[in-house]
Assembly symmetry: D2
Homo-oligomer: 466 residues x 4
Amino acid sequence: MCGIFGVYGHPEASNLAYLGLHAQQHRGQESAGISASDGQRQRTWRGMGLVVDVFNQERLKHLPGRAAIGHVRYSTAGDSDLANAQPFAVRHGRGQLAVAHNGNLVNAAALRREMEQRGSIFTSTADTEVIVHLLARRQERRLVERVRAVIGEIRGAYSLVLLTERALVATRDPWGFRPLALGRLRRPDGGEAWVFASETSAFDLINATYVRPVRPGEIIVVDRNGLHSFEGLPAEQPHFCVFEHIYFARPDSMLGDSSVYESRDLLGRQLAREQPVSADIVIPVPDSGTTAALGFARESAIPFGMGLIRSHYVGRTFIEPQESIRHFGVRLKLAPVRHLIDGKRVCVVDDSLVRGTTSRKIVTMLRQAGAREVHLRISAPPTRHPCFYGIDTPSYEELIAAQKTPAEIAEYIGCDTLGYLSLEGMLGALGQRRGAFFCDACFSGEYPVAADPPTPARALRTAARR
Amino acid sequence: MCGIFGVYGHPEASNLAYLGLHAQQHRGQESAGISASDGQRQRTWRGMGLVVDVFNQERLKHLPGRAAIGHVRYSTAGDSDLANAQPFAVRHGRGQLAVAHNGNLVNAAALRREMEQRGSIFTSTADTEVIVHLLARRQERRLVERVRAVIGEIRGAYSLVLLTERALVATRDPWGFRPLALGRLRRPDGGEAWVFASETSAFDLINATYVRPVRPGEIIVVDRNGLHSFEGLPAEQPHFCVFEHIYFARPDSMLGDSSVYESRDLLGRQLAREQPVSADIVIPVPDSGTTAALGFARESAIPFGMGLIRSHYVGRTFIEPQESIRHFGVRLKLAPVRHLIDGKRVCVVDDSLVRGTTSRKIVTMLRQAGAREVHLRISAPPTRHPCFYGIDTPSYEELIAAQKTPAEIAEYIGCDTLGYLSLEGMLGALGQRRGAFFCDACFSGEYPVAADPPTPARALRTAARR
Amino acid sequence: MCGIFGVYGHPEASNLAYLGLHAQQHRGQESAGISASDGQRQRTWRGMGLVVDVFNQERLKHLPGRAAIGHVRYSTAGDSDLANAQPFAVRHGRGQLAVAHNGNLVNAAALRREMEQRGSIFTSTADTEVIVHLLARRQERRLVERVRAVIGEIRGAYSLVLLTERALVATRDPWGFRPLALGRLRRPDGGEAWVFASETSAFDLINATYVRPVRPGEIIVVDRNGLHSFEGLPAEQPHFCVFEHIYFARPDSMLGDSSVYESRDLLGRQLAREQPVSADIVIPVPDSGTTAALGFARESAIPFGMGLIRSHYVGRTFIEPQESIRHFGVRLKLAPVRHLIDGKRVCVVDDSLVRGTTSRKIVTMLRQAGAREVHLRISAPPTRHPCFYGIDTPSYEELIAAQKTPAEIAEYIGCDTLGYLSLEGMLGALGQRRGAFFCDACFSGEYPVAADPPTPARALRTAARR
Amino acid sequence: MCGIFGVYGHPEASNLAYLGLHAQQHRGQESAGISASDGQRQRTWRGMGLVVDVFNQERLKHLPGRAAIGHVRYSTAGDSDLANAQPFAVRHGRGQLAVAHNGNLVNAAALRREMEQRGSIFTSTADTEVIVHLLARRQERRLVERVRAVIGEIRGAYSLVLLTERALVATRDPWGFRPLALGRLRRPDGGEAWVFASETSAFDLINATYVRPVRPGEIIVVDRNGLHSFEGLPAEQPHFCVFEHIYFARPDSMLGDSSVYESRDLLGRQLAREQPVSADIVIPVPDSGTTAALGFARESAIPFGMGLIRSHYVGRTFIEPQESIRHFGVRLKLAPVRHLIDGKRVCVVDDSLVRGTTSRKIVTMLRQAGAREVHLRISAPPTRHPCFYGIDTPSYEELIAAQKTPAEIAEYIGCDTLGYLSLEGMLGALGQRRGAFFCDACFSGEYPVAADPPTPARALRTAARR
């Protein structure tokens, strides 16, 4: 639940990183950072807040060079601190190194303990620092060999971009949990630069062309000799995070060969087939539910309307750090259009249902606006299990679907009917057999990579939330 | 192009004003302010920026009392200064007075000149200061009489809320150019408070009930004796600003008895009838074009898709103060969904076309995303004339429809076809005969109230923009 | 208790104002402001805080022109608001006008009431706004005549600089309560600019030459025809504020023909003669007591030492707005040098004794540092009366010398002996007979100009302090 | 050129650290930080700027516990970055650790290289990180043994305070280059807390009692078993930094058994004997030259005056990071008192002469103020060599006394005569034989501990300055 970016071979590398992070701002709003290399020296600037708050032209000028990486970070309670902002940048035996990381290692705590036993020190609680430590102590001569050795030591979900004074490396875990795309960008002088991003929306903004995803287990090195692909680890059975399609990615992004917009449209259509409803109007919970609601309306032939208006002056519900603001935020963020709702049987479509608190408020709001019936449809299965691969889902205690049956949930939320998409329906809509191409652990509880005992950081976050 | 709010008779008056302004933030983002009265003393706080930036709980605590008014202000080039923030608050012969004003007086410059000749001083360039001066020098004993006398002196568009130590007054010009709604709010103690707002969206957020619009020419006084309505000036032929329906108001607001959402839906449907198109998909320019695009798609039976994704991390195009940011803003703000556009004949629906620069960029963006054809449809007639009643439209030189024919505009913008809604179609869709109920001067050039020679302030703004 | 500055005829007028205010920062730290005129248009920027915080090169660039005035404002409880920052700048019948004012009018409340009755509005609580109102309603053709008419209406202490689009005016009340100096500055092109400042320290920083004080009752107009002096009001018996010599002005400034440094040296010498002491060391309360302590030590032939070290990281005691900070401030600000004090009979010299709270803490601190005896000597008489002419002294209730005898004060403070300078001694040391050249009302209670009933603003401040 | 502080056993540990750092603010103004331990967990907050800017009550509340350490850091060009702010706080194999360090290691670069070869990573350029790494990899069971082992590995100047979850450690290099004092503080409950500070001025502010210096080579451990002193390394021939007496420390501090005030007084007296002058007045360059000037004046029987007034609104010359500000700063900071100077033969006393640029401006300023002759006297020998032990002196190229003879310097500066104190005179005045108790390497070039080749950080700084 972070966004990363990398560029190699362009005179305005840090400006491109700035734009590439801005286009991925929805992936994390707590901190932003950029490291740039000019062939001799690497410089880093990081700060708390949005990309536009952390950087300005003055600061970008102080990040010269033709290669850069960047990171936007999602906030989790308990570690909202600048020390955890990325890229994580250090000096070590071979010079300078900066790493931007999206994902979650399942053996980070064990690796950290082991290294601490051997005398290493840690200035942050981020997994990234573990990776940097591992890289720094490898003795292999070639950078790609050191990276290959390190990805042999870490386990879990990761998409990484890594910058030295002279090279950029991108790699992805063998299961391909988290996205990482490769693109190409024409330079003013006619030459070509290479770009990497969590989402292709970053490429569109800077007029780069999407080439292909970085492959699970692949290591790509870009330096003055050009771009070279290496086999890092043999690819495992792919397990791309299905939640990226459902909620997290922007609808204009491509994930592999799939359009996120199309995925959501298909999920909405399948939902309409599985969970039909007699209603006068279909409305989305904007913006994340809009595409699925359009698919649902089309498939069910029920008129579609924007029955909830979203304010542009507050952030994304799911992504706010404090419980109190989140609750207050629902009312500040969404407003019902009485004209569409009053006296109507309303079907409201949302992308997921995690704690249930937001949905409950929305149903109340719709009833106050005159809805005769409120039918809630979720374009995903019940979220019953926490994620250990980088999505900041709550613990079992807070996941309403882990605690209640759908009927109990409907009662809690106050809707007339509640319908989830089935696991099979979801996977079928996305064109895959179950377990084959997606990680659906948050729905199925089938974790492709066994998790360590909770790390102190995760335990801390959980504690802080209670 | 401002938002105003007032509340009388509630122990949390300034908190309600805060929320009421937040719900009208789309009406102005440059400055925000609240004045509150505790029956003895009036206090004011104003600042540059969004409501959430200007106020916090600490500051609201320093605005005690059961009555409050508030204002959000739109920025116009050349007068982005705290001195112009509202409410405009003063001490005068009868105590304290604060005024929040939405609109534009056509005789402000003349009144100002006349008062200056007589020795008055002005600390801002706002029309509001003229109104406050007029109020201060009236000798009538009763507040309502002083207000009545003053609205006999000013001419133009205004909706006002006015606060003394002990009373709240709301009034509206005889033509009813700008909106002002009256609502009712149940207090915790079971009693009732009265609220006023430019848009009813403010009432929904605070759970107030919309009662009716303040009538053109009406003066409403609320004090400890309750709410009383007075005839201020005899109502003229109504001329409510049609642009509020087309673009400015939030779709969840009611303007008089009309739902803004419904208005835009009807405009989109009429546009589809007048300007049919052969296209594979209808997409809106979000968010202001979305409702009309949905109506257009329904009427034309062409599939609808959210082909342009709007970033939540940049503000509204039309409403940014600096030309350079506005241009850069289009790319940062809107991103095409290639999946929906590539290889398609795309019909893009927007609410209005003012300078043409944004539309041109959008068409280019859609072609780069693979659109085979791009057809632009505008759910309003060509904007050919500046507004003198409070909407910050550009001068004739910058209004593309005042300078070019539709064919020339289409060529400039680069679309395959361009279709505007007719003036008759617009008025018909909104259920009115021409000139009867709306001010459509920006389209027709028929100004219901003759404008003075440009005021220094407006001339200044125009100059600053060139 | 403010500092003002003016310059006419220099291409870097606002930069000079910036420096001139910085050199007078000790006269007021709450707000700072500059108005500049380019011959056609006047622009103003004001802000809360120090000159260096309010202004930067960017902002000074937006204040072009060859004439400028500036103001630093001292904070008084209850009106710490930007609306009270100066220069007070307005548009009126003859164009633009900005005024910076040091002093206090005794008939401001009456004038304000009268103008309010006649319909005027006031946006601040500052006397300056009264002056601007009076100026704006005068009908005389020439600026100097309008100024002359206005100074005929106001009574009290004032030194003013006033800027129009094309002229600068400086004037001073007929008693000459507050300082205002005239200087000359060579321009880069060889021509000459005229400068005005409360203190000549401003001239030294910008390499200007001190010419003479503006005379009591004089009006000086500078415009493209050069500098012209007019008789405004016939000068009264001079009553220059003696407290400027004792405490307020910088020691490197000239007040009239007198060096402030010399004045304080002479006061210290006279104090040594009047209030001799048997002590091992003389130490000052730095910085305001340093010069008098040096004089005391020289005259008494007792060794001098810097027995109290002043921190550079906190502000001036007397000039902080909040009581709590002031008290905590004594310990943060001053530190005893044990080496000089331990086992010694210490004579500590301060410039004045107002509330007694600071002195009490100092005596305690010195005893904790080992002082065997502590003798307090004050280089001024007991402060027994409040000031109505612009120095923010506390009310009678808080003036310790208005409530207690010297013996009681010594007991409260905890010193072994306490000695004040006599009124006659003070005036003699400053080379004057009693009442002849100085206002000594804060010591003698003889007010040269009768005060109105307290203004609301002053009453408010007094109330706020209790 | 930093200040450190530590406290163990007091319920308001972080508040005391805040005050203790404030009292040492003169030792570093670039960044400030505090780490506090509550027996279980350690928390750290660091920020750029002054202590009062970095901390407020809210932040101090988030640093609970009965033990705390703090640091203020001086800025050196090229590494003005938050990553270099202290305390340096990490997690390692035995828990949490924070270190605050004053000094400079001569083998830091070598240790860093060696650790980097073995795979360690460095996030800052500070020597402190080297020390933390060394501590983390020690395997000894007891904390004191680990500290002892580490100080066996590092060489150079250091005074350290170190905090774990449950213990505080203070230690000092065997030469005793940099100061570190031990004090005792009575708790509200009658018990006793232990405090450590670079300067005893910190003790005075918090009402602690100075006990003794931490001895060279000593390790003091404070935990729930009380305070215990251990021999770390055998003490070498003492080499306490003489520049602390001359310039760096506050005059109210004790360094060992010596009063800094007394030291400066004696240096000024010896200077008067060695370099007599025929002058009408002796004036200091305030504040650092004031005490020596008083001694000079007393010894020479020439009258003393405060001929240069220092502004309270700008920082200390020597300690600003940017060359341009430093130069401009001289005029903004010091103002001549013409009354004392005009027509006089002026002897101006300063504590040291490093680059000569400030002195040159002062001489010019005095001549402009009318000085007939200007005689410069320096209460230290010529500064001819850079410091490798923690004072940020410039390189040989910039040290004017390394490049020019005294006669040439006098000519450059523009004074009539220039007189330095002799090395022997300085050491004699301070009561020591040459080389016996002081490090005087900056004057003599005799470095007690051989320096490594310049570290990259120092080379960087030097490069950045050119």
